[in-house]
């Protein structure tokens, strides 16, 4: 725990001398925290990311994919977005990892070692779509605070683990259980060891779904460090922030969980629609649950120039939170006419679905190919921005790519 202490005056002086400038508010810098000047700038190599990924923020680390990087059916580690609220925990060790399950609504609090979880309960694998609630935030007007995600804060990897419901049943849950909140090992940006970075959760109904996992593998290997090694709560189809990384604890609550980032306006939108720029009182903000219908054209990369007379193969993915996508269409005339794409069934519930089409163009010129998905309830993606909200969540406006026919 001494890594959470603060830098001594002498080491601060040495650090100041080394980087050749005075460090203001050095007393606030937690020990073990590396300043920019001495930080490894190559996050791509450190976290095995494709060099076409876009770093939005180095502290905390936030990285998004570009649409064309998400072409795989199963998102590989190198193309998976990274969203952190705090600092990645250091010295993660699977051997002595413990998960504590407590809260008002457990019969008796209990701890499991990772090994115990693995050996006691059956394993399941699902492809699960995880999208950041703020994916698409950059387009809102007036702008919303936070990392300005464009389109790439979404992934669909294969997660393997034990079912949360099997574990909860083993522990014993009281009738009054309402919510499961998670606790994680990440560190607050301010270095304050008493501050929890983010502790969100899911209602019991989501917790008891068969696809909700305590996962220890991603794409058949131990979960990569930055994606939650060695244990992660994974609940597909909901804002990815409910899928707590570096999972240390679960609290079964008799009320809606009240950890950091559960409160308004975090991961909440106005319960009733508001005009852009409206200030919304906390009590009128509702927690985001299932994510809305959305799609992404992942091939070709935007900017393709092709010769006239030739058809263009396009493909991508579509997803709809808890629901299934029933149709994907494309338009090359800004929505005047739509053509249906071929759409695959999901590999399992909560996995994204692949779509493809062969596009022909009537003449030379500049085109945009727009994709629009429709969910099983008949709700489609809007072509313009959906309802404005103070934090810029849930932008599921149609994705489009530019094409030139010459």
């Amino acid at each position: 725990m001494n890594r959470r202490g603060f830098l001594s005056k002498t080491s601060l002086a040495a650090l100041s001398a080394a980087i050749g400038t005075e460090i203001f508010y050095g007393a606030q810098i937690p020990a073990g925290y590396r300043l920019i000047a001495e930080q490894d700038p190559d996050l791509f190599a450190r976290y095995h990311k494709d060099r076409d990924m876009v770093i939005l923020n180095k502290r905390p680390i936030n990285i998004e994919a570009r649409a064309h990087l998400l072409n795989d059916d199963v998102t590989p580690e190198r193309c998976m977005f990274v969203r952190n609220n705090g600092k990645v925990p250091v010295e993660l060790q699977a051997e002595n990892w413990e998960l504590l399950i407590d809260g008002e609504s457990v019969r008796q609090g209990r701890s499991f070692s990772l090994e115990e979880l693995k050996t006691t309960f059956p394993h399941y694998s699902y492809n699960l779509t995880l999208e950041c609630g703020g994916n698409g935030r950059s387009e809102f007007d007036p702008p919303a605070k936070g990392n300005q995600w464009t389109v790439g804060a979404v992934s669909c990897a294969t997660w393997t683990g034990v079912r949360l419901r099997d574990v909860l049943r083993e522990v014993g849950i009281k009738q009054d259980a309402v919510y499961v909140g998670y606790h994680a090992a990440d560190l607050h940006l301010s270095g304050d060891p008493r501050k929890e970075v983010i502790s969100r959760g899911i209602p019991m109904a989501k917790a008891m779904q068969e696809e909700t996992l305590l996962a220890f593998e991603m794409n058949g290997k131990p979960i990569p460090e930055i994606h939650g090694f060695p244990l992660r709560l994974v609940a597909g189809g909901w804002p990815a922030s409910v899928s707590g990384k570096w999972l240390k604890g679960l609290s079964v609550r008799n009320q809606v969980h009240d950890g950091p980032k559960m409160e308004s306006p975090s991961y909440r939108v106005p319960c009733d629609p508001v005009a852009p720029g409206t200030e919304v009182a906390d009590e009128n903000m509702c927690i985001i649950e299932s994510m809305p219908v959305k799609s992404l054209i992942t091939y070709p990369r935007t900017g393709a120039v092709l010769e006239t007379g030739r058809s263009l193969r396009i493909n991508g993915h579509a997803w709809a939170g808890e629901l299934q996508v029933k149709e994907v269409s494309y338009s090359i005339d800004f929505g005047a006419t739509w053509q249906e794409c071929t759409l695959d069934k999901p590999v399992n519930r909560l996995a994204w679905q692949n779509f493809r089409a062969a596009v022909t163009f009537p003449s030379e010129g500049y085109y945009e190919i727009w994709a629009r998905a429709t969910d099983s309830r008949g709700v489609s993606q809007p072509m313009v921005l959906p309802g404005w909200n103070p934090k810029g969540y849930l932008n599921n406006a149609c994705h489009r790519i530019a094409v030139k026919v010459v």
Binding site: G20, I36, D141, P143, P260, A304, E307, L312, A402
Partner: protein, 153 residues
């Protein structure tokens, strides 16, 4: 005769040894110089980073990416100990927005009282990172055109 020739032989052997010695020393020194130059070259980018953390080019403070202007140093002092400056440069807000963001960080994220710098910081942020209207959907921008020929038969 015999004695002289052996002496002569000894002399040439001696010369050979000196020559070999010189070659060894020269080679060694050359390697040393090359290695040192390599090391210097490798450490150079980092040295620039460390030696000149306040360099400004085209109005941008290179180390942080912040726009140069009155109040920038205060923003570096107060904002970047916890998070990178890109959390600032990504965002656009009016004075009330920046003000409430600072207040939120003070109330919940352990940000300290900015004291005399408070107004300077808000002024800088509002001036350099003001709200831009984007409408309901912007045109696609910065498209990098590339030929698809051969990639999509």
């Amino acid at each position: 005769m015999k004695k002289r020739s052996s002496k002569k032989e000894g002399n040439s052997q001696y010369r050979m040894m000196i020559l070999a010695g010189f070659i060894v020393i020269f080679t060694f020194l050359s390697i040393l110089v090359i290695l040192t130059m390599d090391a210097l070259e490798e450490s150079q980018p980092q040295e620039v980073l460390v030696r000149d953390p306040e360099r400004i080019e085209n109005g941008i403070h290179l180390r942080t990416g912040l726009k140069a202007g009155e109040g920038m140093e205060a923003v570096i002092r107060h904002c970047t100990p916890c998070h990178s400056a890109s959390l600032v440069t990504q965002n656009r807000m009016d004075a009330a927005g920046w003000e409430s963001t600072i207040r939120w960080m003070q109330e919940t994220q352990n940000l300290w009282d900015l004291g005399e710098d408070h107004e300077l910081v808000v002024r800088y942020l509002t001036r350099e990172y003001p709200v831009e209207s984007k409408g309901r959907r912007q045109a696609l921008k910065n498209i990098e055109w590339y030929s698809l020929d051969g990639q999509n038969p």
